[in-house]
Amino acid sequence: MAIFIILGIPLLLAIGALFVRRERLFGIINCFGYFLVLCASAAIFKETAFAGHIKAFSNFIYLDLLSAVFITVISVVAFAAALYSIGYIRKDIEQKIISERKARFYYLLFNLFCFSMFCVPAVNNLGLLWVAIEMTTLISAFLVGFYNSKESVEAAWKYIIICSVGIIFALLGTILFSYAFSISGLSKSLNWSDMVPVAHILDKNILRIAFIFILVGYGTKAGLAPMHTWLPDAHSQAVAPISALLSGVLLKTAIYAILRFGIIIIKSGELAYFTHLMILFGVISLVISSGFILVQKDLKRLLAYSSIEHIGIISIGFGLGSPLAIAGAILHVFNHAVAKSLMFFGAGNIVRVYKKHNMNAIRGVIKALPFTGIMALLGVFALTGFAPFSIFISEMMIIMAAFTNGSYLIAALLLLCLGVIFGAFIFHFGKMLFGNLPKGMTVIGEPLSGKLAFLFLFFLICGVGIVLVFKNKDLLWLAQRLLQG
Amino acid sequence: MMIILQIILFIVFAPLLSGLITKIKNNLRMRKGQSIFQPYYNLAKLFSKDEVISETASWIFRVTPFVVLSSTLAVAILIPVFIFVSPAHKIGDFLVIVFIFALGRFFLALAALDTGSSFGGMGASREMFISSLVEPALCMVIFAISLQFGSTDISAFSGMHAITVSSLVATLALFLVTLAETSRIPVDNQETHLELTMVHEAMVLEYSGRPLALIEMASYIKQMIFFFLIAQLIFPIGLPTAHLAQILPWVLWYLVRIGIIAIIVALVEVIVAKMRLFRVADFLGFAFVLGVIATVCVILGV
């Protein structure tokens, strides 16, 4: 049972982090652990793709294709982050930014965080789903406030408060779902697998209200505008590998939660309702984020806003609802996770060397950090949806779907915002990456582990992009199976 | 054979034309004036003198006279003079003539810049300015004419044809273009070497001796060609068959026609004053508009 590996290894590592004294060694162990997780998740993906859903622990754990996809995404990014952490944390220690103890604390939190995120797609019970997501918030709050500076603590506070509030609404929504379930005269249960089959007989009005709460609640966690406000603060202050996890994966888990409830809504014959809400929030996020990206000064905030943008695209994709769009959206979840992690790693290295977030003060990265610089340059194009990178394909699918649905306005808006964002990104990064070195700056070598992490992600970016052009048939097949549950 | 004859014709009569114009102008100005054959004397004198070449000049400067001459002669053989079709009509049509003249002008301007004297540069600049404004007007005229005769072939309108409003207007436009192309008042003034006014003369200022003679010759021929075109438009006559007996009187009549044009040009030169350079734009703009009007007339069929 691969799922035990996936849930177990992070816990074991977490315990290990308390006891293993030498962080350098532990970093490598950690990395291997996540490699195992990666393999396991691949196995699960395969299994669910063909065998349908898996149940375990007397319905505690329920895995279908959807959860398998998210588990895969999480494990990929987690592996990359673990790989990157080795070099990153060591440098932190060398530069006396953090102590050895704190490094171990970091690894402890890292693993707990990953564990909680793995829980989200694994559990069957919607209440537990809620608990898992709240857990992610609580744990990552520490990682956001890790450096214990004024900014980071402020960010952590905002993060924890806003997300808790949001999540409480989510719980309210969950309760309403169970209420709708109970008044339809069925036995009391919060299991998703029990709810879906009977979705059509549930009370529509309650479901509608419930879904609003769900959307606002988990939407807060997912960073859908206008509930996104915590996101740039948290992402810009967190430790670089964690920023990658936050915006690469954490947001997606929230999206996953929304989808779980969304499926129930769809099954109860309220497709249009689901569609409209998702598209509405997607569009708002897209527009707002593009505005912020244009006039952003802080490097990591820029990336954070781009996460909001991509979440917007994803929710538009799911909102459009046609198999093509779903495929695109799922693909986009993966692609964005990969590309964004790459960018955050790059940002991490840049910020470490230049000691500042302000993009106007950063020049000549390609000279200072040749490898990171090149990777960041390519990453920018990947992130802004330039061929031949994978995001291009997924965005193309979503736009295609928008056109096929005849919703030309949305398609036009997508193209417009993507254009604006692209321009902004090239504008910012062009100034940063190129140009001459600032005075007193020397060329610095980069740790091997970091480079490996970059290469791993970059390989995925290109590989997926190219493969999917040829494999799209299967992809569509997956997409159609996806929302069956 | 025809080609040789035709070239000889041009070489023989072109200077005379210019001399004629000068003579008439002088007489109209109540002067005695030089003899009609003065241009020949000038050419002879220039041929006998030896040349001075600027030390800054390059091979462009040396090669230009021949390019200018050859381009002009190339046009000369495209004009049907003796028989209905021009001797070398397979080479090209009306439009080609424009391009060939451009070739000569291009090199002349380069040569002017080559010596590094500011007169040359000035002349080149002005010449290119005027010529580039001439282009659209000339093209419009050609358009109107070829629209009327259904072809851009020069021979097409060399035959007998009725004088319509359109051809009149076209002729007027062509006349204005000719004034500009042959550096006549009001666009340019051949008689002065005042740096404020001269254009063509400024370009050839550095030339002396035989090269100058060649360039002068070329410009005489060019002028004759343009007069011929006007003449064809305004005084259409039937063309003879290849019998020499018929050809000779025809050639005579042909020269007379061109003479008339020359007289008109001389008159214009006397009555009109030279324009400022930047007024030339308006002048040629007017020519362009005339071309458009001619086209409209053709379309309306008047």
Binding site: L128, A141, A156, W157, S182 | -
Partner: protein
């Protein structure tokens, strides 16, 4: 019986809304939790479900005794002035509270079929409590006020759950309790830090990160 308790709960919530100083807020929060405990206990008695007893017990230990104690401790530890820092003065707050009550009544009556008055009332109050908590979080400046607001919302939610669907499945209930407790701890921890770094807990002044 239930009605009276519900009314008490409502009253305690109103008290929170008009409270000016932190200790008062915590006190009335304690009352509220007490009412909640009472209701759960009654349900437990009537339905004879062992889970519900445990839930009630947890409710008492955590919400009534432990968490308020922690909060008091925080106040004592960090010697900031106990003023809550109101954006809206008590009178206006009271007015808003009334408006919210009305809104939640409408909402509740929309949810349940009309004939069941008691359920509607409970729902209305539960929802009102959630709104009140939200209100506290938005219109009170200090960090503590926000923690309490969160807890209030949570209380409302609990009431909501226990009324509409007879509470959640047991283990979920436990997990949620645990979660809330941890979150309070963590928030308290952060309050300490804020106080350490900024020498105040007025979160409205935390505006270094913008745009």
């Amino acid at each position: 019986m239930q009605g009276i308790i519900l009314f008490a709960l409502l009253a305690s919530t109103y008290l929170m809304v008009i409270a000016k100083r932190t200790p008062a807020l915590i006190r009335s929060f304690r009352y509220q939790s007490l009412c909640l405990f009472a209701i759960t206990f009654i349900i437990a008695l009537t339905q004879r479900e062992p889970d519900l007893y445990i839930v009630a017990g947890l409710l008492f230990t955590l919400k009534v005794s432990l968490i308020p104690y922690l909060l008091y401790r925080i106040i004592r530890k960090i010697k900031v002035n106990e003023d809550l820092g109101l954006f809206i003065n008590p009178q206006l707050s009271l007015f808003w509270a009334l408006v919210f009550t009305y809104l939640s009544w409408i909402f509740a009556s929309y949810l349940v079929s009309a004939n069941n008055a008691i359920l509607t009332g409970t729902l209305a109050i539960a929802f009102f409590v959630v709104l009140a908590g939200m209100f506290l979080m938005i219109f009170r400046m200090t960090a503590l006020a926000q923690i309490i607001g969160l807890l209030v919302m949570e209380n409302g939610l609990f009431l909501f759950a226990s009324t509409v669907s007879g509470g959640m499945p047991f283990f979920v209930e436990i997990a949620i309790f645990f979660d809330v407790f941890v979150s309070v701890l963590i928030m308290g921890f952060f309050v300490y830090r804020i106080n350490k770094l900024f020498t105040h807990i007025d979160v409205n002044k935390l505006s270094r990160l913008k745009g």
